[in-house]
């Protein structure tokens, strides 16, 4: 049942131009960023060869690409999540799901999974760019995939926050803006913290956990943070819909 809903969510994304436009925009921006990084790499290649322990292609091209991708997706994910639940309520289609033999958890998880499928599509298109470099040079695959995993986890976390915001309001625009606000706040919450005493803030920051993975460090602490973030917001969404059934 979860997959029926997930499949429908995934397909209905492609029924509107939104999904196509988003894929195109992401691809254009990242391709440009990818291209300029390669250009920079060629310019400084001769200097690099003289340095001991010089950073490789992966550090100089792929990590910055992922970094840019995460920022672009920070802005775009709210647009993908905004209509997930708010639109069902606005168009009164929620009653179809609620009166079908499906539990609220299945509805929310199904919708979330449908979105995750779409995110995997985005991710696949992004990873293809650095992979194309493997035709000309040696890549650090471990780092490439640890970065990709980091990117997947962080977008999944964005989406979880987004689906929760979408369950709070009937207006997709409000959902999008509040999701964006929340994510941006969590992204830069530790921006001014330099001293060691700001550990709590930096632990809360989405960005800290992501950059660790970009450097190729797979720490259970970071993975646990993202998983807790996702589970937390999905559970909150389910609770929110249960409450609405009691109050509406």
């Amino acid at each position: 049942m979860i997959f029926t809903i997930a499949k429908k969510e995934f397909r209905s994304l492609f029924l509107s131009p939104l999904a196509w436009v988003i894929l195109a925009v992401i691809q254009i921006i990242l391709a440009w960023s990818f291209f300029t990084s390669i250009d920079v790499f060629f310019n400084i290649q001769s200097e690099l060869s003289t340095m001991p322990n010089a950073p490789g292609v992966t550090d100089l091209i792929i990590s910055p690409l992922y970094e840019v991708a995460s920022v672009v997706l920070l802005m775009i994910t709210p647009l993908l999540t905004m209509r997930l639940i708010s639109e069902e309520r606005r168009n009164a289609t929620m009653s179809l799901l609620l009166s079908a033999p499906v539990s609220i958890s299945e509805i929310v998880i199904g919708k979330y999974l449908g979105l995750l499928f779409f995110i995997c599509t985005i991710l696949l298109l992004i990873i293809l760019m650095p992979l194309s470099l493997s035709m000309g040079t040696e890549l650090d695959y471990a780092k490439l995939f640890s970065g990709a995993l980091g990117l997947l986890l962080i977008i999944a976390a964005f989406s979880a926050a987004g689906i929760y915001m979408s369950s709070l309001t009937e207006n997709p625009m409000i959902a999008a803006i509040s999701t964006f606000g929340l994510l941006l706040l969590l992204w830069m919450i530790n921006v001014n913290s330099t001293s060691a005493g700001d550990n709590t803030l930096s632990y809360l920051s989405l960005h800290t956990h992501f950059t660790a993975m970009l450097r190729g460090i797979l720490n259970t602490r970071d993975i646990a943070y993202f998983l807790l973030f996702i589970i937390g917001f999905v559970t909150l969404t389910i609770r929110q819909l249960e409450t609405q059934r009691l109050q509406s």
């Binding site: 029926t4 009164a92 929620m94 009653s95 079908a100 059934r245 009691l246």
Partner: protein, 314 residues
């Protein structure tokens, strides 16, 4: 045989406001129950609670022998619901949409196409099956909503104003469809259109201010005899003179200058009596109670209309 729906002491409060107050009723297979009430009487709240869209403050709902509150998933399997606003995904085609609904109701893969085809045929959607729901007229969208509710042939079908926005021919078709469905399913029909209830339903319930105020079989309602008669007389005898006769309890003059008489005599005896008096009887009509009268009397609480509870133009 056990009833399809049994509702016990169902209550729903919104803060201090009590939308539905202590309602109990049952629905048997083969019954078409008309659910009537003015706006804001708690009709839709009741329907939403029956279909699991709204949690009751307290009370019990059993659908096809399964408790809706304790085993919602199992209970909802026996349920088809068309809300006031049909729940349509406008970016899908009719067929895609019905396929999705069928999957939601856990119809097996082999059955999917068969089930959708039969619903499309029953609701007359054959010509539009590949069209986007967005581009359909209101009437067709309504029919897609009905198709969605009867798709999995659930034992209980709940229709909230199913004929809104349909043209007269479609209304007749849908009524026919509801009657056919009513032979094998239990149906609750929520509507404002009173003749529709009279034409389609086997039972009627009226809800007002959250309370169930009336419940009767349509047949009983229509067979009820009243002791009110409408007369037209050619003589110029005055209303007061008529009222002086012992057999006549009261007389009123109607808008069309006919007289409305209340008498304990049977129709036959009364005619005999009037003819003896030589009042020049030209028209005689025994009033039958109609749903409309009952409805207005029960929902407005107006005493003067209340008196006319059993009266109507036939």
């Amino acid at each position: 045989m056990s009833s399809l729906i049994s509702v016990n002491n169902l209550t729903r409060r919104y803060g201090d406001f009590c939308a539905v107050n202590n309602i109990s009723f049952e629905l048997a297979a083969g019954d078409i129950l008309g659910f009537l009430g003015p706006n804001g009487a708690g009709k839709s709240s009741t329907m939403q609670m029956l279909t699991g869209n709204l949690a009751p403050t307290f009370g019990e709902i059993t659908i096809n022998g399964v408790d809706l509150l304790e085993h919602p998933k199992a209970a909802k399997k026996s349920l088809g619901y068309l809300p006031e606003v049909p729940p349509l995904y406008k970016e899908m085609t009719v067929y895609e949409y019905l396929l999705y609904c069928a999957r939601l109701h856990a119809i097996s893969k082999q059955q999917l196409n068969k089930v959708c085809d039969s619903a499309i045929e029953r609701c007359g959607l054959g010509d539009v099956r590949q069209r986007l729901i967005r581009n359909l007229s209101k009437g067709f969208q309504q029919r897609v909503g009905i198709a969605q509710a009867i798709l999995h042939s659930p034992p209980v079908i709940i229709l909230d104003e199913p004929t809104v926005g349909l043209d007269p021919i479609q209304i007749l078709e849908i009524r026919k469809l509801i009657k056919t469905l009513g032979e094998s399913h239990g149906i609750i029909l929520c509507t404002h259109i009173l003749p529709e209830v009279q034409a389609v339903c086997s039972r009627v319930q009226i809800i007002n201010c959250g309370e169930l105020v009336y419940s009767a079989d349509i047949a009983d309602l229509l067979n009820q005899q009243s002791n009110r008669y409408e007369l037209a007389l050619s003589s110029t005898i005055s209303q007061d003179d008529i009222a002086k006769h012992d057999v006549i309890n009261s007389v009123e003059t109607l808008d069309n200058s006919r007289l409305l008489i209340d008498s304990n005599l049977t129709a036959e005896k009364l005619i005999e009596y009037i003819v003896q008096q030589q009042w020049g009887l030209t028209h005689f009509n025994q009033h039958q109670p109609s749903l409309e009268q009952t409805f207005i009397a029960l929902t407005t609480g107006d005493k003067s209309i209340n008196k006319d509870l059993e009266v109507t133009q036939s």
